[in-house]
Protein backbone atom coordinates (compact mmCIF):
# COMPACT_ATOMS: atom_id res chain seq x y z
CA UNK A 1 0.00 0.00 0.00
CA UNK A 2 1.28 3.45 -0.90
CA UNK A 3 2.07 6.00 1.74
CA UNK A 4 -0.40 8.45 0.23
CA UNK A 5 -3.69 7.75 -1.51
CA UNK A 6 -5.22 10.57 -3.52
CA UNK A 7 -8.92 10.32 -4.24
CA UNK A 8 -9.49 12.65 -7.13
CA UNK A 9 -12.78 13.50 -8.73
CA UNK A 10 -13.14 12.92 -12.50
CA UNK A 11 -13.38 16.60 -13.29
CA UNK A 12 -10.19 17.49 -11.44
CA UNK A 13 -8.27 14.53 -12.85
CA UNK A 14 -7.42 16.45 -15.99
CA UNK A 15 -4.95 18.40 -13.89
CA UNK A 16 -2.76 15.30 -13.58
CA UNK A 17 -2.63 14.91 -17.34
CA UNK A 18 -1.66 18.54 -17.70
CA UNK A 19 1.08 18.03 -15.13
CA UNK A 20 2.59 15.20 -17.13
CA UNK A 21 2.28 17.15 -20.38
CA UNK A 22 4.09 20.03 -18.75
CA UNK A 23 6.85 17.84 -17.39
CA UNK A 24 5.87 18.22 -13.76
CA UNK A 25 6.38 14.91 -12.07
CA UNK A 26 3.78 13.42 -9.81
CA UNK A 27 5.31 11.77 -6.70
CA UNK A 28 5.46 7.99 -7.02
CA UNK A 29 4.39 7.35 -3.47
CA UNK A 30 0.95 8.65 -4.28
CA UNK A 31 -1.65 6.16 -5.49
CA UNK A 32 -4.31 7.91 -7.52
CA UNK A 33 -7.90 6.70 -7.34
CA UNK A 34 -10.57 8.28 -9.46
CA UNK A 35 -13.97 8.99 -7.88
CA UNK A 36 -16.99 10.38 -9.69
CA UNK A 37 -17.20 13.27 -7.23
CA UNK A 38 -15.23 14.21 -4.13
CA UNK A 39 -18.53 14.01 -2.23
CA UNK A 40 -18.46 10.26 -2.83
CA UNK A 41 -15.63 9.93 -0.31
CA UNK A 42 -17.20 9.34 3.06
CA UNK A 43 -15.51 9.09 6.45
CA UNK A 44 -15.66 5.28 6.45
CA UNK A 45 -13.71 5.20 3.18
CA UNK A 46 -11.00 7.48 4.60
CA UNK A 47 -10.65 5.33 7.71
CA UNK A 48 -10.57 2.12 5.73
CA UNK A 49 -7.86 3.51 3.48
CA UNK A 50 -5.75 4.32 6.52
CA UNK A 51 -6.41 0.92 8.00
CA UNK A 52 -5.26 -0.75 4.79
CA UNK A 53 -1.89 0.88 5.27
CA UNK A 54 -1.92 4.35 3.80
CA UNK A 55 -0.31 6.98 6.02
CA UNK A 56 -2.23 9.86 4.52
CA UNK A 57 -5.28 10.48 2.34
CA UNK A 58 -5.70 13.44 0.04
CA UNK A 59 -9.15 14.20 -1.33
CA UNK A 60 -9.27 16.40 -4.40
CA UNK A 61 -12.48 18.07 -5.49
CA UNK A 62 -13.63 20.95 -7.60
CA UNK A 63 -13.73 24.63 -6.72
CA UNK A 64 -16.78 25.79 -4.83
CA UNK A 65 -19.53 26.56 -7.27
CA UNK A 66 -17.96 24.34 -9.88
CA UNK A 67 -19.11 20.88 -8.88
CA UNK A 68 -20.85 19.10 -11.74
CA UNK A 69 -23.15 17.56 -9.16
CA UNK A 70 -23.93 21.00 -7.78
CA UNK A 71 -22.82 20.71 -4.11
CA UNK A 72 -20.94 17.43 -3.94
CA UNK A 73 -17.79 19.26 -2.93
CA UNK A 74 -19.61 20.85 0.02
CA UNK A 75 -20.51 17.41 1.23
CA UNK A 76 -16.90 16.33 0.73
CA UNK A 77 -15.73 19.05 3.10
CA UNK A 78 -18.23 17.97 5.72
CA UNK A 79 -17.20 14.34 5.32
CA UNK A 80 -13.52 15.15 5.72
CA UNK A 81 -14.30 17.24 8.81
CA UNK A 82 -16.07 14.22 10.24
CA UNK A 83 -13.14 11.98 9.35
CA UNK A 84 -10.72 14.37 11.11
CA UNK A 85 -13.05 14.48 14.11
CA UNK A 86 -13.03 10.70 14.32
CA UNK A 87 -9.23 10.57 13.98
CA UNK A 88 -8.89 13.04 16.83
CA UNK A 89 -11.21 10.97 18.99
CA UNK A 90 -9.10 7.90 18.25
CA UNK A 91 -5.99 9.76 19.36
CA UNK A 92 -4.64 9.84 15.80
CA UNK A 93 -3.31 12.80 13.85
CA UNK A 94 -6.11 14.57 11.96
CA UNK A 95 -3.56 15.83 9.42
CA UNK A 96 -3.51 12.37 7.91
CA UNK A 97 -6.46 13.43 5.80
CA UNK A 98 -6.75 16.66 3.85
CA UNK A 99 -9.04 18.03 1.18
CA UNK A 100 -8.18 20.56 -1.52
CA UNK A 101 -10.11 22.18 -4.35
CA UNK A 102 -8.64 22.46 -7.82
CA UNK A 103 -9.88 23.28 -11.27
CA UNK A 104 -8.66 20.93 -14.00
CA UNK A 105 -6.06 23.43 -15.16
CA UNK A 106 -4.51 24.00 -11.73
CA UNK A 107 -1.93 21.25 -12.18
CA UNK A 108 0.76 23.08 -10.21
CA UNK A 109 -1.52 23.45 -7.20
CA UNK A 110 -2.41 19.76 -7.39
CA UNK A 111 1.15 18.52 -7.65
CA UNK A 112 2.27 20.81 -4.85
CA UNK A 113 -0.47 19.42 -2.63
CA UNK A 114 0.52 15.87 -3.46
CA UNK A 115 4.15 16.65 -2.63
CA UNK A 116 3.14 18.29 0.62
CA UNK A 117 1.03 15.31 1.55
CA UNK A 118 3.91 12.98 0.77
CA UNK A 119 6.19 14.95 3.10
CA UNK A 120 3.45 14.91 5.72
CA UNK A 121 3.11 11.14 5.41
CA UNK A 122 6.89 10.79 5.79
CA UNK A 123 6.92 12.99 8.86
CA UNK A 124 3.95 11.29 10.50
CA UNK A 125 5.18 7.80 9.78
CA UNK A 126 3.06 4.73 10.34
CA UNK A 127 -0.09 5.09 12.39
CA UNK A 128 0.33 4.75 16.14
CA UNK A 129 -2.19 5.30 18.91
CA UNK A 130 -1.68 8.48 20.99
CA UNK A 131 0.24 10.12 18.14
CA UNK A 132 -2.34 12.90 18.14
CA UNK A 133 -0.77 14.23 21.31
CA UNK A 134 2.39 15.30 19.49
Amino acid sequence: MNNVVALICSAALGALELARENGLSVPEEVAVVEVPCSGRVDEATVLRTLRKGARAVLVVGCLMGNCRFSTGNHEAHRNIDEAKHILRQLGLAPERVEIIEVSSIQYVKLVNAMNAMTEQAERLGPIRLMEGDR
Partner: protein
Protein backbone atom coordinates in the same frame (compact mmCIF):
# COMPACT_ATOMS: atom_id res chain seq x y z
CA UNK B 1 -38.79 10.80 16.66
CA UNK B 2 -36.19 9.90 19.20
CA UNK B 3 -33.06 12.03 19.10
CA UNK B 4 -29.76 10.52 20.15
CA UNK B 5 -26.07 11.22 19.76
CA UNK B 6 -23.16 8.88 19.49
CA UNK B 7 -21.04 8.53 22.60
CA UNK B 8 -17.47 9.74 22.30
CA UNK B 9 -15.36 7.09 20.66
CA UNK B 10 -13.02 7.02 23.65
CA UNK B 11 -15.96 5.96 25.87
CA UNK B 12 -17.00 3.33 23.34
CA UNK B 13 -13.47 1.98 23.19
CA UNK B 14 -13.41 1.75 26.99
CA UNK B 15 -16.67 -0.20 26.91
CA UNK B 16 -15.48 -2.73 24.34
CA UNK B 17 -12.08 -3.11 25.96
CA UNK B 18 -11.01 -6.72 25.91
CA UNK B 19 -13.82 -7.88 23.60
CA UNK B 20 -12.36 -9.63 20.62
CA UNK B 21 -15.44 -9.90 18.46
CA UNK B 22 -17.97 -7.13 18.34
CA UNK B 23 -21.14 -6.65 16.31
CA UNK B 24 -22.03 -3.03 15.65
CA UNK B 25 -25.81 -2.95 15.23
CA UNK B 26 -27.56 0.11 13.91
CA UNK B 27 -31.14 1.06 13.21
CA UNK B 28 -32.75 2.56 10.12
CA UNK B 29 -35.34 4.49 12.00
CA UNK B 30 -35.02 7.56 14.25
CA UNK B 31 -31.27 7.33 14.84
CA UNK B 32 -30.66 7.14 11.09
CA UNK B 33 -32.56 10.38 10.64
CA UNK B 34 -30.55 12.17 13.30
CA UNK B 35 -27.40 10.56 11.87
CA UNK B 36 -26.30 8.88 15.05
CA UNK B 37 -26.80 5.18 14.39
CA UNK B 38 -27.90 4.52 10.84
CA UNK B 39 -26.11 2.37 8.31
CA UNK B 40 -23.61 5.08 7.47
CA UNK B 41 -22.74 5.78 11.09
CA UNK B 42 -22.39 2.04 11.72
CA UNK B 43 -19.90 1.77 8.83
CA UNK B 44 -17.89 4.76 10.02
CA UNK B 45 -17.75 3.60 13.63
CA UNK B 46 -16.83 0.06 12.62
CA UNK B 47 -13.96 1.38 10.52
CA UNK B 48 -12.87 3.59 13.38
CA UNK B 49 -12.79 0.64 15.78
CA UNK B 50 -10.90 -1.50 13.25
CA UNK B 51 -8.37 1.28 12.67
CA UNK B 52 -7.96 1.69 16.41
CA UNK B 53 -7.31 -2.03 16.80
CA UNK B 54 -4.82 -2.09 13.91
CA UNK B 55 -2.95 0.94 15.23
CA UNK B 56 -2.76 -0.49 18.70
CA UNK B 57 -1.96 -4.04 17.70
CA UNK B 58 -5.15 -5.30 19.32
CA UNK B 59 -7.05 -8.36 18.29
CA UNK B 60 -10.52 -7.24 17.35
CA UNK B 61 -13.01 -8.28 14.72
CA UNK B 62 -15.85 -5.92 14.00
CA UNK B 63 -18.95 -6.94 12.08
CA UNK B 64 -21.86 -4.72 11.18
CA UNK B 65 -25.58 -4.92 10.67
CA UNK B 66 -28.36 -2.35 10.48
CA UNK B 67 -31.91 -3.46 11.23
CA UNK B 68 -35.12 -1.75 10.17
CA UNK B 69 -36.19 -0.87 13.74
CA UNK B 70 -34.30 -2.14 16.72
CA UNK B 71 -37.27 -1.62 19.05
CA UNK B 72 -39.33 -4.33 17.36
CA UNK B 73 -38.58 -7.95 18.12
CA UNK B 74 -39.42 -9.16 14.58
CA UNK B 75 -36.43 -7.45 13.08
CA UNK B 76 -34.05 -8.01 15.93
CA UNK B 77 -34.82 -11.74 15.88
CA UNK B 78 -33.55 -11.95 12.31
CA UNK B 79 -29.95 -11.24 13.24
CA UNK B 80 -29.51 -14.09 15.70
CA UNK B 81 -26.88 -15.72 13.49
CA UNK B 82 -24.79 -12.54 13.63
CA UNK B 83 -25.07 -12.11 17.38
CA UNK B 84 -24.16 -15.70 18.15
CA UNK B 85 -20.61 -16.13 19.31
CA UNK B 86 -19.88 -12.44 19.68
CA UNK B 87 -18.31 -11.05 22.82
CA UNK B 88 -20.55 -8.01 22.68
CA UNK B 89 -23.08 -6.16 20.60
CA UNK B 90 -22.48 -2.44 20.33
CA UNK B 91 -25.94 -1.09 19.75
CA UNK B 92 -26.25 2.14 17.84
CA UNK B 93 -29.98 2.23 18.40
CA UNK B 94 -31.71 4.42 20.95
CA UNK B 95 -32.02 3.19 24.51
CA UNK B 96 -35.19 1.36 23.58
CA UNK B 97 -33.58 -0.61 20.78
CA UNK B 98 -30.55 -1.43 22.89
CA UNK B 99 -32.80 -2.88 25.58
CA UNK B 100 -34.89 -4.89 23.18
CA UNK B 101 -31.66 -6.25 21.75
CA UNK B 102 -30.41 -7.24 25.20
CA UNK B 103 -33.73 -8.85 26.13
CA UNK B 104 -33.65 -10.97 22.98
CA UNK B 105 -30.01 -12.00 23.45
CA UNK B 106 -29.58 -12.31 27.19
CA UNK B 107 -26.26 -14.17 26.96
CA UNK B 108 -24.41 -11.55 24.92
CA UNK B 109 -23.76 -8.17 26.49
CA UNK B 110 -25.30 -5.27 24.64
CA UNK B 111 -23.38 -2.02 25.03
CA UNK B 112 -24.99 1.36 24.36
CA UNK B 113 -23.13 3.24 21.64
CA UNK B 114 -25.50 6.17 21.84
CA UNK B 115 -26.75 8.61 24.43
CA UNK B 116 -30.48 8.83 23.93
CA UNK B 117 -31.78 12.31 24.52
CA UNK B 118 -35.34 13.30 23.72
CA UNK B 119 -38.42 13.25 21.54
CA UNK B 120 -37.97 15.87 18.91
CA UNK B 121 -37.86 16.77 15.26
CA UNK B 122 -35.32 17.93 12.69
CA UNK B 123 -35.49 21.69 12.32
CA UNK B 124 -33.10 21.44 9.39
CA UNK B 125 -30.59 18.78 8.36
CA UNK B 126 -28.23 18.26 11.25
CA UNK B 127 -30.25 20.24 13.79
CA UNK B 128 -32.70 18.43 16.05
CA UNK B 129 -34.81 20.07 18.72
CA UNK B 130 -36.80 18.69 21.61
CA UNK B 131 -40.52 19.01 21.12
CA UNK B 132 -42.55 16.63 23.27
CA UNK B 133 -42.51 16.20 27.03
CA UNK B 134 -44.11 12.78 27.03
CA UNK B 135 -46.38 13.84 29.84
CA UNK B 136 -49.21 11.50 28.91
CA UNK B 137 -51.83 14.25 29.00
CA UNK B 138 -51.41 16.49 26.01
CA UNK B 139 -52.44 20.15 26.24
CA UNK B 140 -51.37 21.31 22.78
CA UNK B 141 -54.94 22.44 22.07
CA UNK B 142 -54.62 24.97 24.90
CA UNK B 143 -51.18 26.19 23.97
CA UNK B 144 -51.41 26.85 20.27
CA UNK B 145 -49.61 23.66 19.31
CA UNK B 146 -46.49 24.27 21.41
CA UNK B 147 -45.58 21.97 24.28
CA UNK B 148 -45.03 23.89 27.52
CA UNK B 149 -43.66 20.82 29.30
CA UNK B 150 -40.83 20.19 26.87
CA UNK B 151 -40.16 23.63 25.50
CA UNK B 152 -40.45 25.85 28.57
CA UNK B 153 -37.31 25.44 30.69
CA UNK B 154 -39.45 25.49 33.78
CA UNK B 155 -42.35 23.50 32.28
CA UNK B 156 -44.68 26.29 33.34
CA UNK B 157 -48.29 25.76 32.44
CA UNK B 158 -49.06 29.40 33.08
CA UNK B 159 -46.15 31.23 31.62
CA UNK B 160 -44.15 33.22 30.71
CA UNK B 161 -41.98 33.83 33.75
CA UNK B 162 -40.18 37.08 34.45
CA UNK B 163 -37.04 35.97 32.66
CA UNK B 164 -38.50 36.09 29.18
CA UNK B 165 -36.71 38.76 27.19
CA UNK B 166 -36.97 39.47 23.45
CA UNK B 167 -38.59 36.13 22.94
CA UNK B 168 -35.63 34.31 24.52
CA UNK B 169 -35.43 32.13 27.58
CA UNK B 170 -33.23 33.47 30.35
CA UNK B 171 -31.21 30.28 30.57
CA UNK B 172 -29.87 30.43 27.02
CA UNK B 173 -30.17 33.07 24.32
CA UNK B 174 -30.45 30.27 21.74
CA UNK B 175 -33.60 28.97 23.39
CA UNK B 176 -36.82 30.69 22.42
CA UNK B 177 -39.26 31.46 25.22
CA UNK B 178 -41.93 28.81 24.75
CA UNK B 179 -44.61 31.00 26.25
CA UNK B 180 -43.84 33.82 23.87
CA UNK B 181 -44.25 31.29 21.06
CA UNK B 182 -47.47 30.01 22.63
CA UNK B 183 -48.90 33.49 22.94
CA UNK B 184 -48.04 34.42 19.35
CA UNK B 185 -49.52 31.16 18.12
CA UNK B 186 -52.76 31.64 20.04
CA UNK B 187 -53.08 35.12 18.58
CA UNK B 188 -52.51 33.83 15.03
CA UNK B 189 -55.01 31.04 15.57
CA UNK B 190 -57.59 33.55 16.75
CA UNK B 191 -57.65 32.38 20.39
CA UNK B 192 -55.83 35.03 22.40
CA UNK B 193 -58.27 34.54 25.26
CA UNK B 194 -56.71 31.17 26.06
CA UNK B 195 -53.64 32.92 27.45
CA UNK B 196 -55.83 34.39 30.21
CA UNK B 197 -57.03 31.01 31.47
CA UNK B 198 -55.32 29.56 34.54
CA UNK B 199 -54.35 25.96 33.90
CA UNK B 200 -54.71 24.04 37.20
CA UNK B 201 -52.02 21.85 38.78
CA UNK B 202 -51.14 19.03 36.41
CA UNK B 203 -51.71 15.41 37.20
CA UNK B 204 -48.28 13.97 36.49
CA UNK B 205 -49.39 10.36 37.00
CA UNK B 206 -49.67 9.63 33.27
CA UNK B 207 -46.06 10.77 32.87
CA UNK B 208 -42.85 9.02 33.87
CA UNK B 209 -43.44 10.43 37.38
CA UNK B 210 -46.20 7.90 37.86
CA UNK B 211 -43.78 5.03 37.29
CA UNK B 212 -42.63 3.14 34.17
CA UNK B 213 -45.53 3.13 31.77
CA UNK B 214 -47.35 0.30 30.11
CA UNK B 215 -50.02 1.04 27.59
CA UNK B 216 -52.39 -1.63 26.30
CA UNK B 217 -54.34 -1.27 23.11
CA UNK B 218 -56.98 -3.83 23.93
CA UNK B 219 -58.39 -4.37 20.51
CA UNK B 220 -54.94 -5.27 19.21
CA UNK B 221 -54.09 -7.84 21.88
CA UNK B 222 -54.39 -11.36 20.41
CA UNK B 223 -56.61 -14.07 21.80
CA UNK B 224 -55.04 -17.32 23.00
CA UNK B 225 -56.17 -19.14 19.89
CA UNK B 226 -54.67 -16.51 17.62
CA UNK B 227 -51.44 -16.83 19.52
CA UNK B 228 -51.52 -20.63 19.29
CA UNK B 229 -52.01 -20.41 15.56
CA UNK B 230 -48.89 -18.26 15.37
CA UNK B 231 -50.61 -15.11 14.26
CA UNK B 232 -48.68 -11.87 14.82
CA UNK B 233 -45.63 -11.37 16.96
Amino acid sequence: MIIAEQKEIARIIEMIDGRRSVLVAGCRSCVAVCQAGGEREVAALAEALRLHAAAGGLERSVETVTVERQCEKEWVQEIAHLVEGKDAVLSLACGVGAQVMQALYPEVQVLPGLNTSNMGAPVEQGVYEERCGGCGDCVLHLTGGICPVARCSKSLLNGPCGGSQNGRCEIDPETPCAWELIYRSLVRLGHPELIEVNIPPKDWMPSRHGGPRRIVRKSAVLSDEERDRGVGL
